[in-house]
């Protein structure tokens, strides 16, 4: 069965046409308005049948004066025309309709306030016309911009308060640490004098008691020093001196510092630097400090007679210092908390191994200040490896 062609749907009654295109205007070849849509007529009394089109509308884009033949030849163009009395700008296109020209379009406005000024309301627009929605989209963008401004202001204020609180905390810690260190120096110094029995002999019990005082004081001083250091690192106060540092020298100094502890625990310490990068551009004192801290931890958490080491390698433009051990290791669930101050993964470790729980927090801060990064790989019962990545000196790699 062959479908018969349907009756063309493009024949409208004037009322239907006006409902679908309420801002239309039909112009004859003499340039006179034949008819116009109800909403367009609402804009201005000058829009009336028989009026001269270019007396009522001026061209906005393209800017040339309305010329029937020229417009007829360019019906695909987008036209914007201004109704002169109301100032309303309409966007749309012309279409040749028999001997006449038909313009269909609708008002082009920046926001709905302009519509109200023009005396138009929602029912002046055809349901298919997106003009009102477009305005609302613009309005929504403005509201969102306001929301984001408010959010930014809130976050800025919060950041300011947090920074102020952090500064206050750092100042407090620095001041407290100083106040505590002064009397501690006397406690440690005088207990040392007593231990050396310079002022006279002590019996065994007295020596044990003074030994406890001295060791407790020393431990407390170490903790205070760590707190002071952490607060300095956190406050941005530390003066870093970036210079070209010999990698092997940094490692030698750090290894020498930890030698006493590892010897005491009869631990084997290995050092590999192959193929040895010559130098990094960094703060020598801080690099040694962080290697010393990592090596001390490795020694502390590795059993007597155990094994640990320092390995240096090059990855891209970075020098990697890896401190490894065959110690107790760290569970994967504990790794996220590793670099937080005062965190020693297992409270029992603090009692068994000592320490302030600040060491890795200090290491993390130093690495950050030096523009590097740190990675940890660890398996409980097998050991850990802390790798510090620092940028190599320009000529070193």
């Amino acid at each position: 069965m062959v479908n018969s062609p349907s009756v063309t749907p493009f024949i409208f009654s004037p009322a239907d046409f006006e409902r679908i295109f309420p801002f239309y205007v039909l112009v004859d070849s003499a340039g006179k308005i034949v008819s116009a849509g109800r909403s367009l007529k609402k804009l201005s009394r000058r829009v009336r049948d028989g009026a001269v089109f270019q007396d009522v509308f001026s061209p906005k884009r393209p800017a040339e004066q309305f010329a029937f033949d020229a417009v007829s030849a360019a019906v695909d163009r987008l036209y914007t025309i201004r109704e002169q009395e109301s100032g309303a700008v309409l966007r749309g296109q012309f279409h040749r309709l028999g001997a006449d020209l038909l313009f269909v379009g609708s008002p082009w406005v920046g926001d709905a306030a302009e519509l109200l000024k023009l005396g138009l309301s929602m029912h002046d627009f055809a349901a298919h016309d997106p003009t009102l929605e477009l305005q609302q989209v613009v309005q929504i963008q403005r509201m969102v911009a306001e929301d984001l401004k408010k959010l930014t202001a809130k976050l800025t204020a919060q950041t300011g308060r947090l920074e102020e609180a952090a500064r206050t905390k750092d100042a407090f810690l620095a001041s407290m640490s100083h106040e505590l260190r002064t009397p501690l120096t006397s406690v440690i110094g005088l207990s040392e004098v007593l231990l050396e029995q310079v002022s006279g002999p002590l019996n065994e019990t007295q020596l044990t008691h003074i030994g406890v005082v001295h060791s407790g004081g020393t431990q407390l001083l170490a903790m205070i020093n760590d707190i002071l250091d952490l607060s300095r690192l956190g406050s941005g106060e530390p003066q870093l001196v970036f210079e070209t540092c010999s990698v092997s020298e940094l490692c030698t100094v750090a290894l020498r510092r930890v030698e006493r502890a590892t010897t005491k625990r009869n631990q084997r310490v290995s050092y590999e630097n192959q193929p040895g990068p010559a130098a990094i551009r960094s703060d020598q004192r801080r690099v040694v400090q962080l290697l010393d801290q990592l090596l001390s931890n490795a020694s502390k958490f590795t059993a007597v007679d155990g094994e640990l080491g320092l390995r240096v390698s090059v990855v891209g433009r970075e020098v990697v210092f890896t401190v490894w051990d065959r110690g107790i290791g760290i569970a994967a669930t504990e790794l996220p908390y590793l670099f937080r101050p005062f965190v020693q993964i297992d409270g029992r470790l603090a009692r068994r191994y000592g320490g302030t729980g600040l060491g890795l927090a200090i290491v993390d801060k130093i690495v950050g200040l030096l523009g590097g990064r740190i990675e940890v790989a660890s398996t409980p019962g097998v050991g850990s490896a802390f790798s510090v990545y620092l940028r190599a000196a320009a000529a070193a790699v």
Binding site: D111, A112, A113, L115, L116, L120, S121, M122, H123, A127, P130, L132, E133, Q135, Q136, V137, Q139, I140, M143, V144, D147, L148, K150, L151, K154, L155
Partner: protein, 180 residues
């Protein structure tokens, strides 16, 4: 619901009871957002929790809060947010309600993730009509009553609203008789 709804709840509470009350409502509702972004879609649950927390804190029934919120939405939020579009919706209560179905159809296009209610008008007479409120959400009938009340105030019109059919009463959707 979109952020602008929750923002409106915040504005209403802050303007009437202050910032501290709003923060306490958020805390009780377990809402952690610093601010609501107008065109972001948030779970409906957040709005319901905020209303429930406000009701509990202020010892006011949730229905009353929703009613006040409806009025606030028309008289403050919608006026500020899209007042001109509201004004383009009509110059009288009757004209606005006539346009309400189309108005909401247009709004639905602006927020692709929004599931806005649909409105339908029937039994239109010179000074009365039936407004059908069709939604998948529950419990917001007092909010619509507040909206209608707000609209009447916006147009300085004395109007009566009666819920002649309700979902709670077994009907397919709520129907309000609006007379002015």
């Amino acid at each position: 619901m979109y952020g602008m709804v929750n923002k409106a709840v915040e504005e209403m509470v802050v303007s009437a009871h202050g910032e501290a009350t709003w923060l306490e409502i958020k805390r009780r509702a377990g809402v952690t957002e610093e601010i609501f972004i107008s065109n972001e879609a948030y779970p409906d649950e957040i709005t319901y929790r905020l209303v429930a927390a406000a009701s509990e804190l202020m010892q006011v029934p949730a229905e009353k809060i929703l009613h006040s919120f409806g009025e606030h939405w028309v008289l403050e939020t919608a006026r500020k947010g899209y007042g001109h579009m509201m004004a383009a919706g009509g110059s009288s209560l009757g004209e606005f309600l006539d346009n309400l179905p189309l108005f909401h159809d247009r709004v639905a296009l602006l927020y692709p993730n929004l599931a806005p209610p649909q409105f339908k008008i029937s039994q239109r007479k010179e000074r009365s009509l039936h407004l059908h409120y069709i939604t998948h959400r529950t419990g917001l009938t007092p909010f619509v009553e507040g909206l209608l009340s707000g609209l009447a105030k916006m147009f300085n019109t004395t109007a009566q609203f009666a819920l002649v059919e309700s979902r709670a009463g077994g009907a397919e959707h709520d129907v309000f008789l609006v007379e002015w």
